[in-house]
Symmetry: C2
Subunit: 339 residues, 2 copies
DNA sequence: CTGTTAGCGCGTTCAG
DNA sequence: CTGAACGCGCTAACAG
């Protein structure tokens, strides 16, 4: 029974039954809380099982159950900051029950994705969650996959698939509405890479909120990259072009940090002179910013939980399709608060 | 064969055999590349398998193989930045073969850990990697776990277990040696929470390097918290106490960012006046810092790969115990470069 | 209440 | 080269 070297084979139900002096069927029923077992017998079996550290073999159980109680989580953004909270939400939703999660990282590679897909199907997962790295639609795995699939973050390009995505338009809108509520009227928007749907969607939301208030963005949407450096450069350009700006919607928390730094370098006071709001509510960026950054939380964990819940329902048989969006929320902090 | 709603049961080997007009045994041999099968027969079987999208059932295979080809990854730091690269390294090492990874997040909770442990053992994983959230030793799962276990990041408190940990003493040493090489002599150390072994180990390494050069730290090790705010405050205190400082070893990249910000606020030029080095080489922190931050990379991915490799060897039967440290490396950037 | 029998999907003997 | 029989660990259906 040493740790290093030879391992002992796990205890089987048969052994438990033998030690308890009953048949395997009785032992099975006793341990699974089924009726028609004498209380004394049940207690005896349970005691033996406990003593032998019996752990039922889920694989064997899966054979008859027709379900393995496992799901695959196929991500393309393991190192990124989006799939992690999604993963946690899903793990949370599954972990409460008796479902285990296979994690696979395909790293944006279609071949690796195919490889992992085969492996997961070979392990007879009951379902799949596919997590993309961008909010742009991604190719569907197709209707021929033998198990239910839910797409998270990146929706499937097939509307008949089930997808759960962040609502970036609303995010842009509520960020802007928050600024409008504070009385800001001359609002600029420094965003990330324009090839990302997330950037364009947020910009659209910003535009909607302004239009509803009879206002316009000060200057064009300044697309760039998702970096602090761009935040610094972008806000500089915006201020130079239009000095009277009283608020900036930054395309992400990283951009927002850059914006805050550049404003401080210029001697502009936040939030008194200019209010700043970011997106993602990403703790590491938020924690260090001066002042603390108001940010729109996309509720990724909720997204993961919803994906898991929908997958569960699909596995249980309920039909379900279409894209579901997760509502974001504004988390107010010092970069807009005292304005 | 619709996606939503009823799913078709996966194709079995039996069906393939029937469609190909052969026995299951023949079909099995044909698909597994075994000898004693007529080439024509083999091709026919392969063709049918392909047409029916046959995916061999890994669970059934596991029955005879005695191994499931799965491992459990039990982490306590899923949202943290340490377990992720470890996870990626492990996933990388396993993914190349035919091993799948069950991911469980126990969140520092012993009960949840026990729950997940039972679930994983029930699924008959071939082995386990346990990832801690701190480098302080953690309780061993004990010698009674039926499968090999490798501890990563946090070592087991039982020296007979196999552990893979970062080498924080060396990290502190090489960070300081790098500064000494640049001619810096008056070095301060602003670190994180002193209750973390990581903080104390790095400080020890810093001290070793200085002692070897016949020098001493300027001021005490300034322990605080792992935050930018503390980096700003800590370096301020250090400068006020001893104005002649020409380099700062920061306890983490986040602390280093705070240090950089405070120095810039004070009009101190980096790296000309003061050089700064951080730890972890954490991309999000590195990316935005001004100037780019020199940092000690703890090589977490290597750690994950080593953990996976050692686990593999243990599963294959080789005895293996003891703590293995992963060598860190200095990544030089602007915060020390032109000094 | 308890024991017996069958069978889940596959690989692996062993006879043919 | 092929086919039938066995076993893995467990549960469901039925018999006692």
């Amino acid at each position: 029974m040493t740790t290093t070297g030879g391992r002992s084979r796990p205890v089987t139900l048969r052994e438990v039954a033998q030690h308890a002096g009953v048949s395997v069927a009785t032992a099975s029923k006793a341990l699974n809380g089924k009726a028609d077992v004498h209380p004394d017998t049940r207690r005896r079996v349970e005691e033996v099982a406990d003593r032998l550290a019996f752990t039922p073999n889920s694989l064997a159980r899966a054979i008859t159950a027709g379900q393995t109680g496992t799901v695959g989580l196929l991500t393309h953004d393991l190192e990124g900051r989006f799939s992690l909270p999604i993963l946690m939400g899903a793990e949370d939703a599954f972990g409460a029950g008796r479902t285990s999660v296979f994690l696979c990282d395909a790293r944006e590679d279609a071949i690796r994705e195919q490889h992992h897909l085969r492996a997961l199907l070979g392990r007879r997962v009951d379902g799949l969650i596919v997590v993309g790295s961008k909010t742009d639609p991604r190719p569907s795995l197709g209707p021929d996959v033998a198990v239910p699939v839910v797409y998270a973050y990146a929706p499937s390009d097939d509307p008949r698939d089930a997808s759960v995505v962040p609502d970036n338009v609303t995010a842009g809108r509520i960020a802007t509405e928050h600024l409008l509520t504070l009385g800001r009227r001359r609002i600029a928007h420094v965003s990330g890479d324009a090839t990302y749907a997330a950037a364009r969607d947020r910009a659209e939301g910003v535009g909607q909120a302004l239009a509803a208030a009879g206002l316009e963005l000060v200057g064009p949407v300044r697309y760039g990259s998702w970096s602090e450096a761009w935040g610094r450069a972008g806000v500089g350009a915006a201020l130079d072009a239009a000095p009277g700006i009283d608020a900036v919607v930054a395309g992400s928390d990283q951009i927002a940090r850059g914006v805050l730094d550049a404003l401080r370098d210029r001697g502009v006071t936040v939030p008194d002179d200019v209010a700043v709001v970011g997106f993602d509510n990403w703790e590491p960026m938020i924690a260090g910013s001066r002042p603390a950054l108001t940010s729109v939380d996309m509720n990724f964990e909720t997204m993961g939980r919803r994906a898991a819940t929908r997958l569960f329902a699909r596995i249980a048989g309920s039909p379900d399709e279409g894209v579901e969006t997760i509502a974001p929320r504004v988390v107010v902090r010092g970069s807009t608060a005292s304005g």
